[in-house]
């Protein structure tokens, strides 16, 4: 009996992935043919809450409103246009095969499953690849100014982990343009009255009544007021938890609170240890730094990554002769070279820096050198391709990348883990959905470049609007739950106590202090490379720090007006609990796969060593009342179409 089978037998929650019948390519069509429908005139009788208005949330809210549902949308930002989807630079994949280079839905599906190191659910990924085609059409109709060729047709570029050109882009601001497209469509519905928009309102709790999601409790960040909102279904599109590391490329406000509160109310949290470290970020420059900035992966198309061979090197980069440089990616992965997938490039950089070969004042980066590209293509061409990124680098690092190589280092960037959802994107709590980065479903253990935007929009535009109808149809004429129900009142009271509690501790240290310390532990022990020993250390250090947090936290101000310190305290609290789960999951998964690299499980040349016999499953945790004691449930993964194989990018 394999470990997967043993664990499956001990599941405490029934995990039904609801994958439709039929061949892989027909599953989604079969689902749509069989699903229950809500009559257009009846749609207005249903109310749906959408929390988060990034790509997934805004597109879902807009589409649901267009269909006729009443939609209440919540964001903690001042506007839907601020969501962190906006920061994606590189592009969005679409299996259009406009280049005629042999791309197809099947190939995108295959690349995504392989890129995810065979830890994603095949049926979900196939649906994602199918929808990718419609997304491009939809966004172009929306007015997204994708890059074009002189003939007027759409341009494509290639991205790490793929051998076809299928990435659509809008300069280095694809995420911005897509989010603004979705935001505009969403705004149209706000204008028309299809969506009620609550801004600067943060989800504090989920309310479950009679086993179904009944609504949410939100805190108005401006007034501190807590209010309850009920609906027939609740969608969480609240993003990922990369800020658990404190230093990450996520925006400052990104947090896990919504997903974590859902988890505490019964939703399973899946694969928390699958976090993606992006290889090309600007290294930390000083201890007060608050966040790291990503430089688009597209830079690796023309930049060459290297470190000096001498750890004591002090000369500036251009004076180091060729034979004293190690172009380690080109040396180790000749066929993909500088375009090796993210997890592989990141670990290679870490190994170089750990050997003391790092560059920069803190010796915490590797060079990304454009001098060859500038010699070969001319400065003009390089400037046209990457001009805005070079400017951004110079603003942040204060060095001119045309003259000296960029310094880069990996940083936390994206989290593949998230709330467990079935094929319909519904968590195990009926009526509670998770979309976009907040769910775990499509990227397995590693996400390919240009796939996050694709997933957010697929979930919001082309999955939820169907699957929610299927859930709502049998509930026709049922009223929305009463917000005076004791469950709502209890949730409001608990939330009130929670925030009063932070204000009352009266310790000496700010929430930021604890966040920074917590992040350091998680980064050191549950970052790019994990060991059993390190994880056990983290699992003793985090609870100790958490105790200190509860005793020595200081939050100034009050709870009745805008108080960013108080907001932060609540978010850090949830990061503590999540951090324990991340380490627990990383410790439980005795294999290396994708973004989860356990030093004990590697091949002779340092590559991830999967254990398909025992770990070809999704680890989904149930809240056990104590963050240190989650209950593990597993969903075995079966591969019908793609054969399990060792990933090789050599």
């Amino acid at each position: 009996m394999t470990l997967t089978e043993q664990l499956f037998a001990q599941n405490t929650v029934q995990l039904n992935s609801k994958i439709p019948a039929g061949p892989m390519a027909d599953k989604w069509n079969n689902y749509k043919a069989d699903m229950k429908l809500v009559n257009p005139n009846n749609k207005r009788k249903f109310k749906v809450i959408v929390v988060g208005t990034g790509l997934a949330g805004a597109s879902a809210a807009a589409t649901l409103a267009e269909l006729g549902y009443q939609v209440d949308a919540f964001t903690f930002h001042d506007s839907a246009r601020r969501a962190h989807s906006i920061a994606a630079q590189g592009g969005i994949n679409g299996a259009k095969n406009y280049k005629g280079d042999g791309d197809s839905i099947h190939r995108l599906f295959y690349d995504t499953v392989k890129g995810g190191d065979f830890r994603a659910r095949e049926a979900n990924v196939h649906r994602l690849a199918e929808n990718s085609v419609d997304i491009i059409d939809q966004m172009v109709a929306q007015g997204v100014p994708f890059a074009r060729e002189y003939g007027g047709l759409l341009d494509n570029r290639s991205f790490g982990g793929a051998q076809v050109s299928r990435t659509f882009y809008a300069r280095g601001q694809t995420g911005q343009q897509l989010l603004l497209g979705a935001y505009q469509q969403f705004s149209r519905q706000v204008g028309l009255g299809g969506v009620r928009m609550f801004n600067r309102s943060e989800l504090i709790d989920i309310v479950v009544i009679d086993g179904r999601a009944a609504g949410i409790v939100v805190r108005d960040l401006v007034t501190g007021e807590l209010t309850s909102h009920s609906a027939h279904a609740v969608v969480l599109a609240t993003g990922g938890y990369g800020n658990a590391f404190f230093l990450s490329t996520n925006a400052m406000a990104c947090n896990v609170t919504a997903a974590w509160r859902a988890h505490r109310k019964g939703a399973l949290f899946a694969n928390p240890c699958y976090t993606q470290i992006h290889p090309t970020c600007i290294p930390q420059s000083d201890d007060s730094q608050s966040k790291l900035t990503l430089m688009s992966e597209s830079l690796r198309n023309d930049g060459r990554v290297w470190v000096p061979t001498n750890p004591d090197e002090t000369r500036p980069a251009h004076l180091i002769p060729e034979n004293e440089r190690d172009y380690y990616l080109e040396r180790l992965y000749p066929s993909f070279g500088n375009l090796a997938p993210r997890d592989i490039s990141s670990r290679a950089a870490k190994r170089a820096v750990d050997k003391g070969l790092g560059v920069g004042a803190k010796k915490n980066g590797v060079y990304l050198d454009f001098s060859d590209a500038i010699n070969r293509l001319g400065r003009d061409v390089v400037e046209e391709r990457y001009g805005n990124l070079f400017e951004m680098y110079e603003r942040i690092a204060g060095e001119n990348p045309y003259e000296q190589p960029m310094r880069i280092y990996p940083a936390s960037h994206y989290t593949m883990g998230g709330l467990w959802v079935d094929y319909e994107l519904m968590t195990n709590v009926p009526g509670l959905y998770a979309a976009g980065e907040a769910n775990f479903s499509d990227h397995g253990a590693n996400r390919l470049g240009a796939s996050a935007l694709m997933q957010g929009l697929s979930d919001g535009y082309f999955v939820l609007p169907y699957t929610i109808g299927n859930y709502l149809a049998p509930m026709l004429n049922q009223p929305t739950p009463d917000t005076n129900h004791p469950e709502f009142k209890r949730a409001e009271q608990e939330a009130q106590q929670r925030f009063n509690g932070y204000l009352a501790v009266g310790g000496t240290k700010s929430p930021d202090f604890f966040h920074r310390e917590l992040g350091k532990i998680i980064w050191d022990y549950c970052g790019m490379e994990r060991t059993e020993q390190g994880l056990e250390k983290a699992l003793s250090e985090i609870p100790a720090l958490y105790e200190e947090f509860k005793k020595d936290l200081r939050v100034t101000g009050n709870g009745e007006s805008m108080n960013q310190t108080l907001e932060k305290a609540g978010r850090v609290d949830d990061f503590f609990q999540l951090g324990m789960l991340m380490c627990r999951d990383a410790l439980d998964r005795n294999e290396s796969c994708g973004g989860h690299f356990r030093a004990e499980y590697q091949t002779d040349d340092g590559e991830a060593l999967r254990d398909d016999e025992n770990y070809c499953h999704v680890s989904a945790y149930e809240w056990g009342g104590d963050p240190m004691k989650p209950r593990l449930n597993v969903e075995p993964l079966e591969f019908e179409e793609v054969h399990l194989a060792t990933r090789s990018y050599k």
Binding site: D72, R188, V190, G191, L192, G193, G194, V195, R196, M197, F198, N199, R200, D220, V222, T223, E225
Partner: protein, 259 residues
């Protein structure tokens, strides 16, 4: 009109579902700030035309008294005998007055709008990057020009402050007397403070035109990469021509070049 954003918190929805007011076309256009800027532009163009031709006509000063006085007479008798003497000139004057009032009304209401748009000023010093003296003093230069205009009319049109105005002169070869404009201009500029006021006001007019003439292109949406770079040059050139022409008269009088 600038309105204070609702301070109460709550959901936002149906913001675009407001009934559209139906108004006569011109009022509809004029009801928005963008429309008022068109009005500024149109009236500005009319008055720019006036100041330019006024200046060109006055260059007759340099040709001597007879030429200038005959030119003035020509204006009085525009389209005569199709229209009675003076009528066309008064129609033109009426048009200019209307344009002036339009310009003033639009300027006044835009100023009020802008005040409402920032009721609390910045409490620390601003560091302007592009906004220049011309653009930031439009109201001031406009008011000085308006005051000057009033003086100028009282001085040289109605003769309230100039006893030479109204005198007539008969030139050899003419069949009737014409107004002795030349003499009254000389009389006016021989008063040094008047000449100085004239010079200052005209320099301000130039500054006003420098921003106004460029602004018209923006307000009308005349924007084309082919001629965009000429817009500034046009505004500068236009303002310079008008100022140099106008300012030359009092200087010439004071220097004794013409007397």
């Amino acid at each position: 009109m600038a309105q204070v954003v609702a301070s109460h918190r709550g959901p936002v929805t149906g913001t675009a579902n407001k009934a559209k007011k139906r108004r006569p076309f011109l009022l509809d256009l004029y009801s928005t700030a963008v429309g008022k800027k068109y009005a500024m532009g149109i009236s500005g163009i009319a008055m720019m035309g006036f100041v330019l031709f006024h200046m060109i006509g006055n260059l007759k000063m340099y040709a001597g008294a007879a030429d200038l006085d005959h030119y003035a007479h020509f204006l009085q008798t525009l389209l005569y005998p199709l229209a009675p003497k003076g009528v066309v000139l008064w129609i033109l004057r009426g048009g200019l007055v209307a344009m002036l009032f339009l310009h003033l009304h639009a300027a006044w209401s835009l100023t009020m709008l802008n005040r409402k748009a920032r009721p609390v000023k910045y409490q620390s010093a601003r560091d302007y990057q592009i906004a220049n003296f011309a653009s930031r003093t439009m109201r001031l230069s406009g008011l000085v020009i308006l005051a000057f205009l009033v003086w100028h009319l009282l001085d040289l049109t109605f003769g309230v402050v100039n006893s030479e105005v109204g005198n007539k002169v008969l030139y050899p070869g003419d069949t009737e007397e014409v107004k002795a404009v030349y003499v009254s201009v000389i009389a006016s500029f021989e008063r040094v403070p008047v000449a100085l006021f004239y010079i200052v006001a005209n320099i301000l007019l130039g500054i006003h035109l420098f921003h106004g003439a460029w602004s018209i292109f923006q307000s009308f949406g005349w924007n084309n990469p082919r001629f965009n770079k000429w817009r500034r040059a046009f505004a500068t050139g236009f303002a310079a021509v008008v100022v140099v022409g106008n300012v030359s008269f009092p200087i010439a009088v004071m220097a004794g070049v013409i007397s």
